[in-house]
């Protein structure tokens, strides 16, 4: 259970440095991810689907800001986890899909960083440009689409992390607490 993870493991997930090689086809995962067994991503799918449909329905202004870029495929790659995510925010059929590493998935944008880097971005705690300047955040592919996504997310009063936590219903507070703990261990102050 996530909230019972030992801080040392949390620290590894949260805070490992960027890997030396990171092509999607690369099956060598980083940091704590090496220590974990292959992830049963199918377990995540119902939850991911619920999250993307809820956020998409709750924030039409986010989709409006994306414009035509809502049809793009955003590959979100927390490179110290054993899986990555593919986001397709098209409001007609919003999808968020998890894939184990090693899968070659067609995408327009590749956004990668540690879990802490990506969480702190969607939680509105850290400036995306500063993360990019620091080389903590790596962007390749369709730059226009990722700029639009960054700006659309930044216009949300409640952060995306809060919305995602809310999708867990009665567990939203523990989930939020785990996110805060990961961010704190990773050096991101609230």
């Amino acid at each position: 259970m996530a909230c019972l993870m030992k801080p040392s493991l949390l620290a590894m997930i949260a805070n490992k440095p960027a890997p030396q090689d990171r092509p999607l086809q690369d099956t060598r995962t980083q940091g704590a991810a090496r220590m974990l067994p292959p992830f049963p991503v199918f377990v995540l799918q119902p939850l991911l689907g619920h999250i993307v449909r809820t956020v998409s329905g709750r924030h039409p202004e986010l989709i409006a800001r994306l414009g035509e870029n809502c049809k793009k495929r955003f590959l979100i790659d927390p490179h110290n986890l054993p899986f990555f995510l593919l986001l397709q925010p098209d409001p007609a059929t919003p999808q968020l899909t998890a894939y184990n590493r090693g899968r070659d998935v067609r995408h327009d944008v590749h956004i990668s960083g540690t879990l802490v880097t990506l969480l702190s971005m969607i939680d509105g705690r850290t400036d995306g440009d500063a993360l990019f300047f620091n080389r903590e955040l790596i962007i390749t592919g369709d730059t226009e689409a990722v700029v639009a996504l960054r700006n659309a997310l930044d216009n949300m009063d409640a952060t995306l992390a809060e919305d995602v936590a809310a999708c867990f219903g009665p567990l939203s507070r523990p989930v939020r607490a785990v996110v805060d703990l990961i961010l704190a261990v990773g050096g991101r102050k609230p």
Binding site: D129, F133, V146, N151, D154
Partner: protein, 334 residues
């Protein structure tokens, strides 16, 4: 000793949430633009619809803050209606001033909306008393945003010779080009910083990271930098790229990626009679706005009360992790 004036803190907002963040963080005034080519930060997903700007003006006014609408790009022939509509919309929703660069739009606003405040954008490039006073006389300009090419002493001289307020940049991105005159993006992409509002349009920017974590940056068909593993990155603009020029390899042929930070010159600017201190960064996130605005709110108040603020943490938000006082301290900057 010259009297210390407490200046207005003018802060950026790229989205309605950014505006609310700036106001809540202590901005006296927030500047922002409409979606489209009428302002100099025409980036995807950024800026305000007219309805969003109207709501934002209400939010700011209810909290005692002002809103400035940036209509500060230059219309090309046959396209002036878009800029005129932006000015009309801004007046209709009760913004406190419109920031204008184009002389034709200054004429339009002064004739169509007399009595409403016009601020002369930095994009107009007016840096001499003669130029500024011309705008004051002809278009009743109330404030000039000075180009970042003057020392504080020169700003004081300008202040003493002009008939309007001065707004000066104190933090954020800085270019070596004369504002409103840069055509580098236009040369490479066919889109104009000054007429389309896009410096290095994102649609033309491509990053490639190799196995050794070297990051190659391309704008259009040109490679403009290759940032080594462990090096800090900057904005993907031509002026801050590295090139092989003559015998120099990977050379910052135009300028290095640094950010303006005038924290330590704030008292001098306040004594020089600067009315408003401007933070650059409408393209930056709410996290940036929150950090920088609250820091400068504290700094301005601290200096005014005779203290010495510590803003060392702002370095993490600067481009290339480097900062400069630019031409404000010395003309030898370049």
């Amino acid at each position: 000793m010259t009297q210390l004036f407490k200046p207005e803190l003018v802060c950026p907002a790229g989205t309605p949430a950014g505006l609310r963040t700036a106001v809540d963080a202590g901005a006296d005034t927030v500047y922002c633009g409409f979606q489209g080519p009428t302002n100099a930060r025409n980036f995807p997903g950024l800026n305000f619809s007219v309805a969003e700007m109207a709501d934002s003006v209400d939010y700011a006014h209810e909290r005692g803050a002002k809103v400035l609408a940036a209509v500060n790009s230059f219309p090309t022939a046959g396209r002036t209606e878009i800029w005129k509509k932006a000015i009309d919309d801004a007046i209709r929703i009760d913004v406190d001033a419109v920031i204008i660069a184009d002389i034709g739009m200054a004429q339009y606003m002064s004739k169509t909306h007399p009595g409403h405040r016009i601020h002369l954008s930095v994009q107009a490039g007016a840096s001499s008393p003669e130029a500024i006073n011309f705008y004051c006389r002809r278009f009743d300009i109330k404030r000039v945003v000075l180009p970042r090419i003057l020392t504080v002493q020169e700003i004081k001289k300008v202040h003493d010779e002009i008939g309007c307020e001065i707004e000066a940049f104190i933090f954020g991105n800085i270019g070596m080009m004369a504002e409103g005159r840069c055509a580098l993006t236009n040369y490479v992409t066919g889109q104009s910083t000054n007429m389309d509002g896009v410096c290095s349009p994102a649609s033309h920017v491509h990053y490639e990271e190799d196995e050794d974590r070297n990051l190659k940056t391309r704008l259009g068909e040109f490679a403009i930098d290759c940032i080594g593993c462990g090096e800090h990155a900057g904005y993907p603009t031509i002026c801050k790229g590295r090139y092989n020029v003559g015998h120099r390899r990977e050379y910052y042929a135009f300028e290095e990626p640094v950010s303006l930070n005038l924290t330590h010159l704030l008292p001098d600017l306040m004594r020089a009679g600067v009315t408003a201190l401007k933070i650059e960064g409408r393209q930056r996130s709410r996290a940036y706005v929150r950090s920088v605005v609250s820091a400068f709110r504290q700094a301005v108040d601290c200096y005014f009360d005779g203290g010495e603020p510590d803003l060392g943490h702002l370095l993490a938000l600067t481009e290339g992790h480097r900062e400069t006082q630019g031409a404000f301290r010395s003309k030898t900057w370049r």
